[in-house]
């Protein structure tokens, strides 16, 4: 089953060359920050060096264990986390240091995933168990959660708090991949005829409708519009991938729009978000402040940006989490912002490639789902920050400040790599 040894070591060599580039990029940023802060900035240099080394060591570990996964994913993620880390140190070294620790934990989690979950297929067997676990984890914050930034989606554990929805998204993709690969034939063809369109029965439908319900519940009870939107669009993307039927997607979208329209009329916070998106200026001193400060940041950035530490991204509230892209737009300009979008694009492209090469439908669907999730999440939050979409508070994968998001995304990356590893062995 093993691919030829030459091929896999070539992959790791490519990976290490790319990691060298992203490491140099990270160190450039850290050195600039160090020069600006002076002597007290030495922890930045240490963090930069250790981060670059950690990425390199993971690649070395893979080379040793004969891991055959895609060589592009890790360097792309390294570049994204480097950008995030440099900007967090620039905004506030306290955030930077915490993010650095979480980054190491995330890398560890990914390494463990690629070591112990390398045979990920057993995950499809317990789908209902973790569907329930996931549901529970999502519902808990509604009753015991802590509100942060308008969304009630955090569980507090004394020292740190966890955002379950970041982890549950992985379970959602795995559940859907398992469920859809099992019921694909029935769902695609349908079992009964309704008029001239054949539709599957309620048994096949049930779990999917549940997903829709959970998304809307998230949207309404936790006020976590962004996560609801991402879950739901990922769900639609996976249903479409599995069934190739646009009808389902269109129907799902119509249902989602209906739900959104209803919540627009019934919930003030939804209405406020939409109105600010359409025209933030009347709310410049209140709810529109953040969005307008973000527009100013992008405007002041221009093509090349003001340069690292030359702008005033701190005028934007919550710039270190949801609005980190605005800080990049101001200080690295249109070019920097476009490069970040390009990196996400490459990430999605490699993910789709892995999905196409996957060994079976479960793996293919999981890879497509992970790619769609990463792509859609970055699209939704960047879109919100630049005013293309209504603003919804979600993190920018691998860049925003936040341990839950970072660790969850690294686990997700590990699973994607495992699928790629398996496919490479199969070819």
């Amino acid at each position: 089953m093993r691919g030829d040894a030459g091929g896999e070591s070539r992959h790791r060599r490519q990976e290490q060359v790319l990691l060298l580039i992203s490491g140099a990029y990270l160190m450039t940023g850290m050195i600039v920050l160090y020069l600006e802060t002076g002597r007290s900035g030495w922890p930045m240099l240490v963090a930069g060096l250790m981060t670059a080394t950690a990425f390199f060591m993971i690649s070395a570990f893979w080379a040793k264990s004969g891991y055959r996964a895609d060589p592009c994913l890790l360097p792309v993620v390294a570049a994204l986390t480097a950008t995030g880390l440099v900007f967090l140190y620039r905004l506030d070294p306290v955030y930077g240091t915490r993010q650095f620790v979480w980054l190491l934990i995330g890398l560890g989690a990914m390494a463990l995933t690629t070591r112990f979950l390398v045979d990920f297929r057993f995950l499809s067997d317990y789908k209902y168990i973790y569907a329930l676990a996931g549901l529970l984890a999502l519902v808990l914050p509604i009753f015991f959660g802590r509100e942060q930034g308008g969304a009630k989606s955090w569980l507090s554990f004394g020292l740190f708090s966890v955002q379950p929805s970041e982890f549950v998204k992985i379970l959602v993709v795995l559940f859907l991949a398992a469920y859809l690969s099992e019921n694909r034939a029935v769902l695609s063809a349908g079992t009964r005829l309704t008029g001239r369109i054949s539709l599957p029965g309620a048994q096949e439908w049930g779990p999917l409708v549940c997903m829709w319900g959970v998304s809307l519940a998230l949207l309404i009870f936790q006020r976590d519009l962004g996560t609801g939107l991402i879950y739901f669009s990922t769900f639609l993307a996976m249903v479409y991938t599995a069934t190739s039927r646009l009808l389902y997607t269109a129907f799902g979208m119509a249902m989602f729009l209906a739900g959104s329209a209803a919540s627009y009329f019934f919930f003030d916070h939804v209405r406020a978000r939409l109105e600010i998106w359409l025209n933030p200026w009347p709310y410049i001193d209140t709810a529109g402040y953040q969005v307008i400060q973000s527009l100013f940041a992008f405007g002041s950035g221009g093509v090349l940006g003001t340069g690292l530490d030359q702008g005033y991204p701190k005028f934007i509230p919550a710039v270190h989490t949801d609005f980190i892209f605005a800080a990049i737009g101001e200080e690295m300009g249109l070019l920097g912002g476009t490069c970040v979008i390009l990196l996400f694009m490459v990430l999605v492209y490699r993910g789709i490639r892995i999905s196409l090469q996957a060994r079976d439908e479960f793996a293919a669907l999981a890879a497509a789902g992970f790619s769609a999730l990463l792509g859609l999440q970055s699209f939704v939050i960047i879109g919100g920050v630049i005013g293309l979409l209504p603003l919804t508070g979600v993190t920018l994968p691998f860049m925003s400040y936040g341990g839950s998001s970072l660790v969850a995304n690294f686990i997700l990356l590990g699973l994607l790599l495992n699928i790629s590893h398996e496919a490479a062995g199969f070819l």
Partner: protein
């Protein structure tokens, strides 16, 4: 399933491309406005760490300079009140205006090579410096114009007719940008509106000075108008409305009608041109548009074509009725006639230099539009020369230099007429055009013409 995975991939990639496109639109197209938005606190923040560049006049006089000390740049203005309408001010409380605002990013070293240098300066803890703005404006002439206006409400504009370079753009009364905090209340409440840039933003009925435009239109649109004999009985009946003249001018041709400022002749020419002919002439002089200056400048206003009939058309043709123009526009009309019909784009900024003295932008004069033909300009020029040598504008005459000009005494709701003069010198080989208005000061010939003459003399003496 491979097909639908591929399609999903295309869809996601398309989303990112859309996003990158929107980001470009946001930063390139909408960016400059957001960067300059008064609610954007960034520019004020930059003042605390950048030594803002100087603004220097055509003779090398530094009009605005920043003294940087202890983390804050304090802007100091020379000849402050005289140049304030052009230079403007920067204030964290009252906003940013004038050229200070227009060239904010250059002055703060946020553009081009300076941006890179200042990033390095910041990294290595050195003073950040901005670029310089070098004006076409001559502060001595600007001061002369302000002295001649002597506190009265009014404005004076002096242009180089060959290039469009603005040598003076005076607005009176003015304000002191060095004492904005102390005097703001008073400036805002003052009925004389010292914060208004009358020269570029003022709206005045031009009165008879506007006959230059009517003359150009008539000569272009009515064949034989140049040689035609007119008769002025001292009044003109237009659909029941009696338009009076100062006196009966008797028989005269167009050149003499300019010299004597005959209302009857120009009102009849306006009627003969018709609504479309008159509006066409206004458009060919660009009066319906804001002059392309680096400062906010007002477009002229005129009666709409439905109302521009009979009596309104006759009064508009002699610069009354609903016609309102700015002193800058009147100076541009005179400059256009002086420059054989070609209006140059007016400009205040000769050059932008970065902090190393490297020129990053140098103005090359450009024609804005062709208002009329050289032949027509020549006929009008002869009329304007006659006006100075024996007609209404005699007050502008200078020893040794032929001056061409046209006066106006514009009726207005405020009572006494506004005194106008628009003209240029030397008449045979024009270099400078001037427009002067003094509000409610009496007749153009008595008040504005001598003032304009003195300003022209000062400019010619300085070699402009």
């Amino acid at each position: 399933m491979k097909k639908s995975i591929l399609r999903l991939g295309y869809f996601l990639i398309a989303l990112f491309i859309l996003q990158a496109g929107f980001l470009s639109y946001l930063q390139l197209y909408r960016g400059p406005a957001a960067a300059a938005n008064p609610y954007n606190r960034r520019l004020n923040e930059f003042e605390t760490r950048v030594k803002r560049g100087d603004i220097i006049d055509a003779g090398g006089v530094v009009l605005a300079r920043t003294d940087y000390a202890a983390g804050y740049g304090r802007r100091q203005y020379q000849r402050a009140a005289e140049t304030a309408p052009v230079i403007g001010y920067i204030s964290s409380r009252f906003g940013r205006t004038g050229l200070e605002s227009r060239y904010d990013r250059h002055l703060l070293g946020l553009e081009g090579a300076d941006q890179f240098r200042n990033t390095l300066n910041h990294v290595f803890d050195r003073q950040q410096v901005g670029g310089e703005v070098i004006l076409t404006l001559d502060s001595a002439l600007q001061g002369k114009a302000m002295a001649l206006l002597n506190g009265r409400r009014g404005a004076a504009v002096l242009l180089d007719v060959r290039t469009g370079a603005v040598r003076a753009l005076a607005s009176s009364p003015s304000f002191d940008p060095n004492r904005l905090d102390a005097n703001w209340e008073q400036y805002v409440k003052d009925p004389a509106s010292p914060l208004l840039n009358r020269a570029a933003d003022g709206a005045y009925p031009p009165g008879s000075a506007f006959k230059l435009v009517t003359a150009a239109g008539a000569l272009a649109r009515l064949p034989g108008a140049a040689g035609k004999k007119f008769n002025c009985p001292g009044y003109l009946m237009v659909s029941g409305f009696k338009l009076t003249d100062l006196r009966a001018h008797g028989d005269l041709d167009l050149q003499k009608a300019v010299a004597l400022s005959c209302n009857v002749t120009f009102a009849s020419l306006g009627l003969e041109m018709g609504t479309e002919g008159f509006l066409g002439t206004i458009r060919s002089f660009g009066l319906d548009q804001a002059p392309p200056l680096e400062l906010p400048a007002r477009a002229g206003t005129f009666a709409g074509s439905s109302r521009l009939q009979d009596a309104e058309l006759a009064s508009s043709a002699i610069g009354q009725g609903e016609v309102l123009v700015s002193p800058l526009q009147m100076a541009m009309i005179a400059a256009g006639i002086a420059n054989r019909g070609v209006l140059m784009s007016p400009y205040l900024v000769e050059e932008l230099k970065d902090s190393h003295g490297q020129a990053v932008q140098k103005k090359s004069p450009a024609p804005w539009r062709t208002a009329t033909t050289p032949e027509i300009a020549a006929v009008i020029t002869r009329g304007m020369m006659d006006a100075v040598s024996y007609g209404t504008a005699a007050g502008a005459a200078l020893p040794g230099v032929a001056v061409a000009g046209k006066t106006g005494s514009a009726e207005n709701p405020g009572g006494v007429t506004h005194a106008w003069f628009a003209g240029f010198a030397p008449a045979e080989n024009p270099r400078l055009a001037v427009a002067v208005v003094v509000e409610n000061a009496g007749s153009g010939g008595a008040v504005a013409a001598p003032l304009a003459g003195k300003l022209l003399a000062a400019a010619l003496a300085q070699g402009y």
